[in-house]
Amino acid sequence: MKQKIPFLLFKYSILCSFLIIFSNQLLAQNTEFKLPQLSGRVTDSKTGEPVVGATIFIDYKKSGFITDTSGRFSIYLPKGEYVIKITNVGYNPFRSKVLLKDDTKFDVSLQDVSKTLEEVIVSSQATRRSIQTPSLGVTLLSIKGIKKLPAMMGEVDIIRSLQTLPGVSSVGEGSNGINVRGGNTDQNLIYIDDAPIFNPTHLFGLFSVFASDAIRELELYKGSVPSRFGGRTASVLDIKMTDPSLEKFKLSGGVGFVSNRVMAEIPIIKDKLSIVAAGRVSFNDFWFKLIGPDNMKNTRANFYDVATKVFYRPNKNNTFSLSTYISRDFYQVDSLFSLENVVAKQTQFTYGHVNISGRWSHYFNPKMSLEVVGVLSNYKTKTFAPDSVNRIELYNHINYKNVKANFDYNPNDRHKLNFGVSGINYQISPGRLNEDVQSRIATVLLPNEQSLELGVYVDDEYKASDKLTIQAGLRYAQFLNLGPTTARKYLEGVPRSTSSQISEETISSGSIEKAYGGFEPRIAVKYSLGENSTMKLGYNRMQQFIQILSNNTTPLPTARWKTADEYIKPQVSDFVSLGIFKNYKDNIWEVSAEGYYRKTQNVLDYISGANLQLNKTIETQVIAGQGKAYGLELMLTKKKGEVSGWLSYTYARSLQQVRGDFPELQQISDGNWYASNYDKPHSLNLMLNIQPTIHHSFSFTFAYNTGRPFSSPSGFFQLNNQKYPVYETRNNDRVPDYHRLDFSWTITNPSLKEKRWEGSWTFTVYNLYGRANAYSVFFKPYRGGLRPYQLSVFANPLVSLTYNFKFL
C-alpha cells in the first residue's frame, strides 16, 4: 500500500522545514479546531466481501477497535505518524505506517490464510491428497518450506530438514543418511525423478547431495508405501524435480559459505519444450587453507552436483521428460580410512552418481493414463593413493537399470486403480584393486555380481462409503541372482569361514544362482470420524534384496553394496500403523498421532573384527539377526499464516537381536535384544517460522533427543604392557542427551531497480547456544586404566550468510 502524503507542495530545503511545520501548525490553529479522520474499509482479498469484526490496533496498543458489519472503520486522531495493524482470525495480519495530516481514507484487503498455499512447509498427510487417500505416514514437503528452515552453513539441506520430522533421525551430525522409524540408512529408497540415490550425502555426511533449487517437492513415505514402490524395507523418499517453465525464462542462484548455486529455466519452444538446469559447486579447499586448523591444511574436499531436465509436451495427451543428475565428491585426507595392510601416507577419494531417467506420460482418456519410465543409474567410488611404489587404485561401482510401466485407471467414482510392472537389473563391481596398475600392492579383482529384481503390482483405492475408504494393494517381487558367479559350499554344523569351505561351483553366465520371491500385501484403511478428523490403519510387507555392507557407525561412501545370494537372504519387514488426524480451522491447524510397529527379518550384522573390503567370501563375515522398531509420533502443525511451523514429540525404539546360525559362537550381546546405534527413545522437535512482512522472515528450529547408545566397557585387561577395554554388551550406555537451537533470518529486498530481479540475504546460526553434543563416546588407554572421551562434531555455533537471487 502506497501512502499519500498531501503536503508535497512544500518543497523547500531542509533548512526551511522547521519553519514550514511551524507555520503549518499556526495555520491549523487559526482555522477551526478539528482532528483528522482515519477511515477505511477492510475486505477479503479474494472475494472482496467485507471483513466484519477485524480489529484495528494503533501504535502497538493492546486494545483496538473493530470494523462494522460493512467492514468499515473510522477514528479521529491527532496529526502525526501512526503504525496501524489490522487483524482478524483466519487472515494474515496487515501492518502499515500512516502519516495523518488530514482526513485519510485507508482501504485494506486482508489475505485469507486458508487460501494461501505457498506457506505450506509440511503436512503429515500430503494435503493435496489427504482427504482422498487413506495413506498414512506420508509427509509432503515443499522445497519452499524447506528453504525456510535454518540451514547449517547456509546450505539448504533436504536430509537435515527431514530430521526435523517425527520418526526421522540419524546417528548424529555428519552421519551418512537418515534412519526412518528405526530403520537402517540403506533401508530407505531414495529417488530423484525415478532414479535411485545410493549415497545421499556430500562430504562424508555433512550435506545432502540434492541441489535444492532443482527440486519441486518431496514425499516421504514412512508408513503406508503404495505398492508401486518396492525394494526397501523402511521408507521411500520420492524427490521430484521442477518441471521447467514453458513460458518464461527464469534464473536463480545463490552464493554461500559452502557452495555457489545457479539454476536456469529456459523455454525453447513456447508451451512445448523447455529445459531446466541447476548446478552447485563447493569451494571448501579455500576455507581449509585459509582458516582450517593445521591438521586440515592438507585436506581437500570438493563436490559438485548438476541436475537437468528437458520437458517436452507435443500435445495435450503426451508429455516427455528426460532428467539427468550428476554428483561428484573429491577428498584428500592424511592417513585416514586407508585400506588395511597397505603403506600409504595420503588417500584420495572420489565418488558420485550419474543418473538418467526418461519418462513418457500418455493420457488415453480422462479415466486412463500411462507412464513409461526408463532409468540408468551409476554410482561409482574410487580410492586412490598417489605413491610411487605403493600406489593404490580401488574402484567399486553399481550399475542400475530399470524399466517400468505404470497405469492409472479410474473406472468410476468409487475405484482408483494403479497397476504396473517393473524390472531392475543390478550390476555390481564390489572391488577392483590395482587393475593394470604398476605397484607393489597386489591386484585384487572381485568378480562382478549381477541380478534381476522384477515386480508386478496393483493398488485399488476403493471408496466403500462416504466414511470408509480402503486402499488395498499387492506387489509380487521376484529376485534372481545370476551367474557368472561362484557358489561356495561350507561344512555343515560350523560357522562359515575360509577354513570350513569345502567346495566351489562355477555358475555360468545367465544361470540362476539363487532366486527369492514373495508377495507384499499393502493395505490402508481410512475411516472418517467426523468432518475434519479421520482414523487410518495400515499394514505393509516389504522385501529388500540389496543392502550396504558396513559395520561402521555410519556407512562410508565407499561401502560395498551387496545383493541377496545363497547366504545373504533378503530382508523382509512387516509393518503396522495406526493414526488419527484432525484438522482445525480450514486446514490451518492439524493434529496427528501415529503409532507403529515393525519387525524385520534377516538383518545383517558382522562377526567381530569383520573384514568387508575386498573380501571374496563375504558370507564368512556376516551374521543374520532380526530387528524390531516401534513408536508413537505426536505432531501439531500450523500450516499457514504469519506464524507457521510444527511441534512434534516422538517416542521410538529400534532394537536388534543377532544370534546367527550358531548362537554360542556368533551371537552379539549374549543373544539379547540390544538398542541399535540410532535408538533414541524420546525426541522433541519444534520448528517455527515467523513472517511479519514480505521482507523479513525468521525461523527457529529446536531439536531434543535422548542420547544415542554406545558400548561401555565393564573393565580392562592388559597385554604387552598395553591396556585394553573389555566390552561385554553392545550399546549398553548412552551419550548425553542431544539438543540444539538454530536460527535464521531472511531479508528479501524487492526494491532493486530491475523489477525482475529479486535478491535475499539469509543469516543463519546453527547450534545457537553452542552446545557440544556428543556424537560418540570412546575409550583410550590412559595411565592406570582407560579414559573416556567424547567426540562432538559441531561444538560451537556456526554462523553463515548466504545471498540468493531470482530473476523472473
Binding site: 555428519g174 605403493n390 573384527g609 597385554l719 557440544a772 567426540l791
Partner: protein
Amino acid sequence: MKTQFPIYFILLIILIASCITPISDFEQVNTKSYFTIEASLTDQAGPHTVHLYMSSNQISGGYFQPVINANVTITDEKGTVETLSDPTQKGYYVTSSTFKGKVGSTYTLNIVTSDGRKYVSQPETMRAAPEIENLITKFEVEDIYAKGDPRRGGFNVYVDFQDFQTLGDNYQWYWRHYQKAYICEVCSNGYYDFRSNSCTFPRVPTDITLKYKCDGDCWDITYATSLNVFSDALLNGKRITGRRVARIPFDDITPYYLQFEQRSITQNSYNYYQSLVAQTQNNGTLFDVPAETKFSFNVKSTTNSSEKILGIFDVYAVKSKVFYIDRSVGIPAGETPTPNIVYGDVFSCPVGAVGCKEYVQCFQSSNRTPFKPVGWRD
C-alpha cells in the same frame, strides 16, 4: 556510481569445531572381571611367561588378581611337555630358561586351575621372521598437536624388509627404549622410607617434591605405545618399505637407544590384535566399528564352553636389533627439543646426619632395570 553491490558474500565468523574432549564425570554401567591369559612363546632364549590373572572390573584403577597354583604346560606337536612354574606366586608362570620355540613347530597351551577349570589353546605354529633390513628416521611434525606440545615434534621410524614368498605372513613390530636413570624415586608431599622401599606420606603434606638418586647403574624402560600389526595379504613376496613402526620423542638431541623387534605372528594373533587396534587406536571417528571384545579367541575352556576368557596365546619368531637413532639431524629451523622435566629437589643428606641414606636401590621391574641392556653404548 558506487551503488553496484558485488554479489560477494561476506562470512562473519566460522568456528569449524569437531572436537574431542575427555569426560570427567563418567559412570561405569557394567562391571565384570574375567579370567585372562597373557601367554607368549618365541624362538628366543627363555624363560617365556604365561601370565594368568583376573581382569580389572573398573575402567581405571582396580587391580589384576593373580591366578595362582595353576598347572600350566606347553606341548609341542611331538608331545614334548614343558611345565611352567610360578616361583613368585604372582601368576607369572615361566618356562625353564633353556626352553624356546622353534620355527615350524606347533605348540599348545594347557592350563588347569587349582579349582579344576581346564583351558586349552588352539595349536599355533611358529612362523619364521624376516630380517630387519633397515630403519629410516625422519623428523616430522604432527600438526594435530599445538606448538609447544611435546608430542608435536618427533622422529618417525620406518622399517624396510623383504616379505617371504609364501602368502599369509603377519607381522608385529615392538620396541623398547632404555634410558640411563639417575633418579630412582620421586616422592611428592612425602619422603622415602628405606625400610619399606617406598614413599611415605606424613599426615600434613610437606609441599615438597623430593627426587632420590639411584644407588648405581639403572635404566628406565619405555615400550611401544601402540599396537602395530600388518599382513602381507596385499604385498605378498614384495619388499615392504616405509611402514611406520615407531615415533621417537624429541626431548633431547642425544642418540636414542631403540631395541627393535620384528615379529612373525600367527594369523590368529593378527586377527586378535587387529580388533584391539580398531577398539583403542582407530576409534573416535565418525566411522567407528562396534566396540567388541573378542573373548576366548584361541584359548577356550574345556570345562565350561560358554565361559568368556580374555587374552591370547601368542607364538612368534622374532628378529631383534638395537638401533641408536640420531636426534641431531634433519631438524628444521625453529624446532627445539621439549625436555621432559621432573620437578623437585634432589634429596641429599644433611651434613653430619647419622644413618641418613640418600641413594635408592634400582629395583628390577617392568619399567626399570639395573642390568645393562644389549648393545648399550655409554
